[in-house]
């Protein structure tokens, strides 16, 4: 069977520049919208899932799914730290573990309105655990025991009283902002202060969670099972990576749902546009199709040829759409993570998944939009088609 050369389709698209460009742009707008939502989801997920460390254990009260609803007594947390042989030791021979208190506090946004900002009270051992994950880029680190805080880079310009030298009042205690820190994970949207001073300022008595470095090769599941059944201080254990991933499920699901919903609905409109364009192309080229079949091309090659042209239209749209969303990469934005009820700043992330989805999506649009017109073209009788001049 003889197939029609592909250059025929390329030239046809070029000849009908106007409709081609409009259709390609229409598909591109659809692809770009869907890819943009997906890029948002990828950026959000990456912030949590890819920055959590597999060698750190996060201990929460049994039944708590997030640190905000977890709590330990101070004695309980201290006993956990001292009596768990799975925790690694620091240079001083003490377990490498820290208590943290956490509270989403109401703060005013610079641009007006209120939001919830995570406030974390940390111990000196927390910095030992984190190593160079926390990078102070302005000012200095906080002094243990002092009324000082350091603020994540992501919120300095967004939340009031969060630039270097500001005074940040928590309940009735004023804290001095002495440093700005950067971090690749969600901590960059947080305010950190001394554990003891934060407890005092908030009128609390114990930590929300314990974070500890695990010895190499520790079976976290077994540790979790043992501590969950503990009579003394019960706790659930997850690696930090698993813990952070679990905090993204809800928003990730919403964004994925939104993306697929938009994909289907806008996709329908894009398919119709592609069909319209191809029908018009075939209408204008009826005579050519007559010649093609008169010169011996069978119905199937004609069908393939026009379907290919539609796929080409879709692919061009996909490429343009992908190019349109590329500049979004790294663009910072923020929204509330409903699982922690706090605002997090994160960036759009154009991953290979996003680009691949865009291209595959556009190809599907092309196939769906091209099938009917190609079938019509293939069914034309040469005698009738040639008569249409």
């Amino acid at each position: 069977m003889q197939f029609i050369p592909l250059s025929y389709n390329l030239r046809s698209l070029l000849v009908r520049r106007g409709p081609t460009a409009l259709t390609v742009l229409g598909i591109a707008a659809t692809v770009a919208t869907v890819a943009g939502v997906l890029a948002l989801q990828q950026g959000f997920r990456a912030l949590y899932a890819e920055t959590g460390r597999p060698d750190l254990a996060v201990l929460l009260r049994p039944g708590a799914t997030a640190e905000g609803v977890s709590s330990f007594t101070r004695e309980g947390a201290q006993r956990l730290i001292k009596s768990t042989p799975e925790f690694a030791e620091g240079a001083d021979g003490q377990p490498l573990a820290g208590m943290e208190c956490f509270l989403a506090v109401r703060r005013a946004r610079v641009e007006g309105g209120e939001t919830n900002v995570p406030l974390r009270g940390v111990q000196p051992s927390t910095f030992a655990l984190r190593g160079d994950e926390i990078r102070i880029t302005e000012g200095r680190n906080l002094t243990p025991g002092a009324d000082e805080v350091i603020v994540g880079r992501a919120i300095t310009g967004r939340i009031k009283n969060c630039t270097l030298g500001d005074v940040l009042t928590i309940n009735v205690t004023p804290f001095q902002v002495v440093g700005i820190f950067e971090c690749d994970g969600p901590f960059e949207s947080e305010i950190w202060g001394d554990f003891e001073r934060m407890l005092a300022a908030l009128g609390r008595f114990g930590p929300n969670r314990v974070v500890a470095k695990l010895r190499p090769g520790v079976d976290v599941k077994a540790l979790d099972a043992r501590l969950a059944a503990s009579r003394e201080v019960a706790a659930t254990v997850k690696t930090e990576r698993d813990y952070l991933s679990s905090q993204t499920e809800f928003l990730s699901k919403i964004l994925r749902l939104l993306g697929s919903f938009l994909g289907v609905v806008m996709g329908i409109a894009a398919v119709f546009t592609a069909t319209n364009t191809m029908m018009s192309a075939i209408g204008a080229r009826t005579y050519e199709i007559g010649i093609l079949s008169a010169t011996g091309f069978r119905a199937f090659p004609i069908f393939v040829s026009f379907l290919f042209e539609a796929i080409l239209l879709g692919l061009l749209g996909g490429i343009v759409g992908a190019l349109l969303v590329l500049p979004l990469n790294g663009l910072k934005t923020g929204t509330t993570n409903f699982q922690t009820f706090t605002e997090v700043a994160f960036a759009f992330k154009i991953t290979p998944t996003v680009l691949l989805t865009a291209i595959v999506f556009s190809l599907i649009l092309g196939v769906l939009g091209g099938t009917l017109p190609a079938w019509r073209a293939a069914r034309m009788r040469p005698t009738e088609a040639l008569r249409r001049q």
Partner: protein
């Protein structure tokens, strides 16, 4: 003019498939645009249901910080206050973490007096008052979980572990069911006895609970601003600073937490609009080109350039208005089912008349814009040239 209108219809009918597909894309696009806009407006309208005589007193530090119970008599003593009732967010779930809804420990009598929006449709207020483990639930929960009067409802706690040990559910019994008389009032709340809550916790290590929010009802002629300032000043120096707000402001605070969501939604709407604009312009240009020969005939018959212009622009308008109207109608029709889908995030989802007018204006604008290019070209065509065209 009547004949020209018929010509418009005939022209549209000539390429049935294209007209139908174009209208169908418009329906989809306008459905999306109206739904997206309604999500944003409904989110922002949540605050409108609030009653002006109610104030909320909460911690100024955090949503998750409790106030001491001892604050209650001090607040009650403020002039202009008729009633104060304490609420606590329980934060549990039914069977699985994804089955979350609002559960509050409340003072039953006071709460029903302060919130007349809850109309009891099954069971009775008395039954709720008398049963220590009794709960008052919204009909939205009945719909979701199929609970009925007398059912025992186990709720797994996240914030308040049961003293009997980890993993123990708190057990409640459905004593009454309410139906909200206001659109924006949450139909999925579960209210239970403060006494049961407090007595149970006192058996455990945690002890008596704090208060999440105090709900305050003002006397008819009290000045809310004055009362709020007085309450805030009472606890200026701790131990916990408070923030009193009107009920509408309290709800608005939750709305601002959605942060950039309205912006995202508008951006997506922009994408939808561009896509549909290109689709309609494309379809209209194709139609205009195919009708070149007809236009020549019209002009040869003596119709003016203006008539020709109108024929083409009316075709575009006709398609856009039909598609737009169907899309807007679809958005309105799907209002109840979409409202049910998003109820946990947005109460009272509504496609407002303003959104429908917005859609209508957009449809007309789109029709004029998409029709302009081919109509302009047609009006300027030379009769001879047009007649010579093979289309």
């Amino acid at each position: 003019m009547g004949d020209l209108t018929r010509l418009v219809v005939r022209n549209l009918a000539r390429r049935k498939l294209r007209t139908i597909l174009t209208i169908a894309s418009l329906v989809v696009a306008f459905f999306l645009l109206c739904t997206l806009r309604s999500l944003v407006t409904s989110l922002q309208a949540g605050a409108d249901s609030a009653i002006a005589s109610r104030l909320i007193v909460q911690s100024a530090v955090s949503l998750f910080v409790d106030l001491p119970q001892a604050y209650q008599p001090k607040i009650e003593a403020v002039a202009g206050i008729e009633q104060v009732s304490k609420w606590q967010w329980f934060g549990g779930y039914y069977q699985e973490p994804r089955n979350r809804f609002a559960q509050f420990a409340v003072e039953p009598r006071e709460t029903l007096e302060i919130y007349p929006e809850m109309e009891i449709v099954e069971g009775s207020a008395e039954a709720f008052f008398k049963n220590r483990r009794g709960i008052l639930i919204g009909d939205g929960l009945v719909e979701q979980f199929g609970w009925k009067l007398g059912d025992t409802v186990p709720i797994l706690p996240e914030l308040f572990p049961h003293p009997s040990g980890p993993g123990t559910a708190w057990e409640f019994e459905v004593a009454a069911i309410y139906h909200p008389t206001q659109r924006n009032f949450d139909p999925k709340m579960m209210l239970f006895h403060w006494d049961y809550f407090e007595k149970t916790l006192e058996e455990g290590p945690v002890g008596a609970p704090g208060v999440g929010t105090f709900v305050v009802r003002l006397t008819p002629n009290a000045d809310p601003t004055q009362v709020m300032a007085t309450i805030d000043a009472l606890f200026e120096n701790g131990p916990q600073r408070v923030q009193s707000t009107s009920e509408s402001e309290f709800q608005r605070q939750f709305v601002t937490m959605f942060g950039n969501v309205p912006f995202f939604v508008s951006t997506i709407g922009g994408g939808v609009l561009i896509a549909i604009l290109l689709a309609v312009v494309n379809a209209m240009l194709m139609a205009g080109r195919e009708q070149t020969h007809d236009i020549g005939i019209l002009k040869a018959l003596g119709f003016s350039d203006g008539d020709v212009f109108r024929v083409l622009i009316q075709q575009s308008l006709c398609v856009c208005v039909i598609g737009g109207a169907l899309g807007i109608g679809l958005a309105k029709l799907s209002e109840p089912s979409i409202g049910l889908q998003v109820i946990s995030l947005i109460q009272g989802y509504r496609v407002t008349p303003s959104t429908m007018w917005f859609g209508a204006a957009l449809a007309v604008g789109l029709g004029l814009f998409a029709g302009a290019a081919p109509a302009w070209r047609a009006a300027r065509l030379q009769t001879i040239e047009a007649l010579a065209s093979k289309d």
